[in-house]
Amino acid sequence: MSDVILRATGLRKHFRTGGGMFARQSTVRAVDGVTLDVRRGETFAIVGESGCGKSTLARLLMRLLEPTDGRIDFDGRDISDLKGRDLRDLRREMQFIFQDPFSSLNPRMSVGRLVAEPLETHHPQMGREERREEVARLLGIVGLRPEHADRYPHEFSGGQRQRIGIARALASRPRLVIGDEPVSALDVSVQAQVVNLLHDLKAEFDMTLVIIAHDLAVIRHMSDRVAVMYLGQIVETGTTDDIFAHPRHPYTMALLSAIPEPVHGRARTRLALSGETPSPANPPSGCRFHTRCPFAREDCAQRVPELRPAGPGGQHAACHYWEEIAAERPDAGTPPAHERKPQAAARFALYEAAIDRLNDRPETAVNAGANDMTQQEEDRR
């Protein structure tokens, strides 16, 4: 068995827009030549700002969209042209978690039916009783309680709804799960719960996870390898540690330096980008980043950069001049860890210990909701 579970080669997706009575027709090059490998068992992150094509790429990988060009292999098998029954069988192996827990669940279906639905599709041989038990088991796995099966989505908070979405994705026992911004609609404290849950589930079910996100801090936490996208193309890829310690592409550098860090009184030099992302309907010539790049040279507008090796650990960057830029910006990576004041550090340790004590219970069913919390409180007394 090869250790690449998902491979995209020269993947393109172009959308035609306009062409009506008023607008001239144009072609949006949402994904424009993406090649990547996702390895078995890893968490692979695709990061970029709005309009970079990351969500389109995720949908292409899942075959939710037809690629305009290019090829996708899942587990060594070309899936670019699968149709009908074969495609449905593929969905059993590959599942999707959507960003918005509010619009991705049918409000008229009970949680039990929502979670049972993929079971009916993918495991039709399952009897009614068995399916009910399986739903209860899945709800338990994501930290909800069996009796939640009779309730409806509107009765749950955003974090709990995202758990329902995860239970649905897990129902067919997929080997690969693609999450499109799975935590970005959630508040930080709840986001942390879901990040931890995904981490645990991945280990427990031996899954491969592809995460689409715009939040680099979340990505650093969750992923093993990262691909950074800009205007439909991958501009840099490598292990998470490499990318954060020594980004090579100026766009990655700018992204990293733009994130405000929750640390008081540390001045960081910011690599400011002028302007905003150009339209993917009319991408700049040469290197697509050259219109905003603070290091752009004259020929960047003409020559198209290819991804090329940029470090020993498999890091690649699509920049003609990364060597010079990296030499100019030796401190482009994330700064050393911030030391908390001793009194604050002691309190954080106390807090974490208290949370660990709460979590130190069988099942992953911790932190599921206020109700469960009260339950736990009662149990403790």
Binding site: G158, A192, L256, P260, P262, G265, L273, R340, L350, M373
Partner: protein, 329 residues
């Protein structure tokens, strides 16, 4: 501290038909050139607080339980809608999270900015338009002469937010309230907008109230911070105090939930559970249902009004954390 520019005392209000306050006993002071960050998660009451200060809550939907505002030496009650309306857009201005929905799609942006100027300064259309142009230039919009006659849909999100800022600042307000102004924007654009606000603040000396959920933004721009949970300020202090000496369990929980860009990989700490709905708030400390340290007294009795000095206040029976441990041991 000298007399603050804007001081709010004991602001409490609830929505009609509810018997619990959505914002309870909120007090703060804001000086010239200072930035107060109100930080908290969705539903904590930070946005309605901003709307209340701007007099933008429909009077038939809210009941104020209290709230005295002192603005530049003048004191008035928060329910004095007429008073607030006369200052709104002039001495106090606000920018919103969604630049997409807070601009009128049917009017040219130049006209929208000019309208705010004409409304408060008795000046002619020409002068107002000139002011609009000047403001667009000041907020860094390229080719402002052309942009003046464009419609909001022709601008990107970042540009729209710049237009909102131009509109808010057109009358040189003394107080700017910004409700999550960068949440809908990409990080690289967020950085530009935060820099712009800071720059304009230095130029004009205005006081800024920034409402945000992002502790990174807080650390970067705040002078003082109010951490809100479920309608109550649980901790209030200078930005140093909040980051170097956080005392309330919620502040600490919130901070440890944020994934870090630096340091060793560790499992994220969380705040267990979710915020109870407003009808199910415990009568005591509202955080008690989620606090890993809660004692029986916490759910029953509200913590005595903020303990600690004026520059760092914590609403917790047992803060700081280490005291709590000792007492319970």
């Amino acid at each position: 501290m000298t007399t603050p520019l804007l001081a709010v005392e004991d602001l409490s209000f609830r929505f009609r038909g509810h018997d619990q306050d959505v914002v309870q006993n909120l007090s703060f002071a804001l000086g010239r050139n200072e930035t107060l960050c109100i930080v908290g998660e969705s539903g904590c009451g930070k946005s309605v607080t901003a709307l209340a200060l701007m007099g933008l809550l429909p009077s038939d939907a809210v009941r104020f339980g209290g709230g005295r505002v002192t603005f530049d030496g003048d004191s008035y009650g928060i329910e004095d809608a007429g008073r607030i309306a006369s200052m709104r857009g002039d001495r106090m201005a606000m920018i919103f999270q969604e630049p997409m929905t807070s601009l009128n799609p049917a009017f040219r942006i130049g006209d929208q900015i000019a309208e705010a100027v004409e409304r408060h300064r008795r000046c002619g259309t020409e002068a107002a338009r000139a002011r609009a142009l000047e403001m667009l230039r000041r907020v860094g919009i390229p080719a402002p002469e052309q942009r003046l006659d464009e419609y909001p849909h022709q601008l990107s999100g970042g540009m729209r937010q710049r237009v909102m800022i131009a509109m808010a600042l057109a009358n040189d307000p003394e107080v700017l309230i910004a409700d999550e102004p960068t949440t809908a924007l990409d990080v690289t654009v967020q950085a530009q907008i935060l820099d712009l606000i800071a720059e304009l603040q230095t130029e004009t000396g205005m006081g800024t109230i920034m409402i945000t959920h992002d502790l990174g933004v807080v650390a970067e721009i705040a002078t003082n911070v109010a951490v809100m949970y479920a309608g109550q300020v649980v901790e209030y202090g200078s930005v140093q105090a909040i980051f170097d000496d956080p005392q309330h369990p919620y502040t600490i929980g919130l901070m440890s939930s944020v994934p870090s860009l630096t340091g060793p990989h560790r499992r994220l700490s969380t705040v267990p559970g979710t915020v109870p709905s407003i009808g199910q708030m415990p009568p005591g400390c509202r955080f008690s249902s989620r606090c890993p340290f809660a004692a029986p007294i916490c759910a029953e009795r509200p913590p005595l009004a903020p303990i600690g000095g004026a520059d760092h206040q914590v609403a917790c029976h047992f803060a700081p954390l280490e005291t709590m441990q000792e007492r319970r041991a």
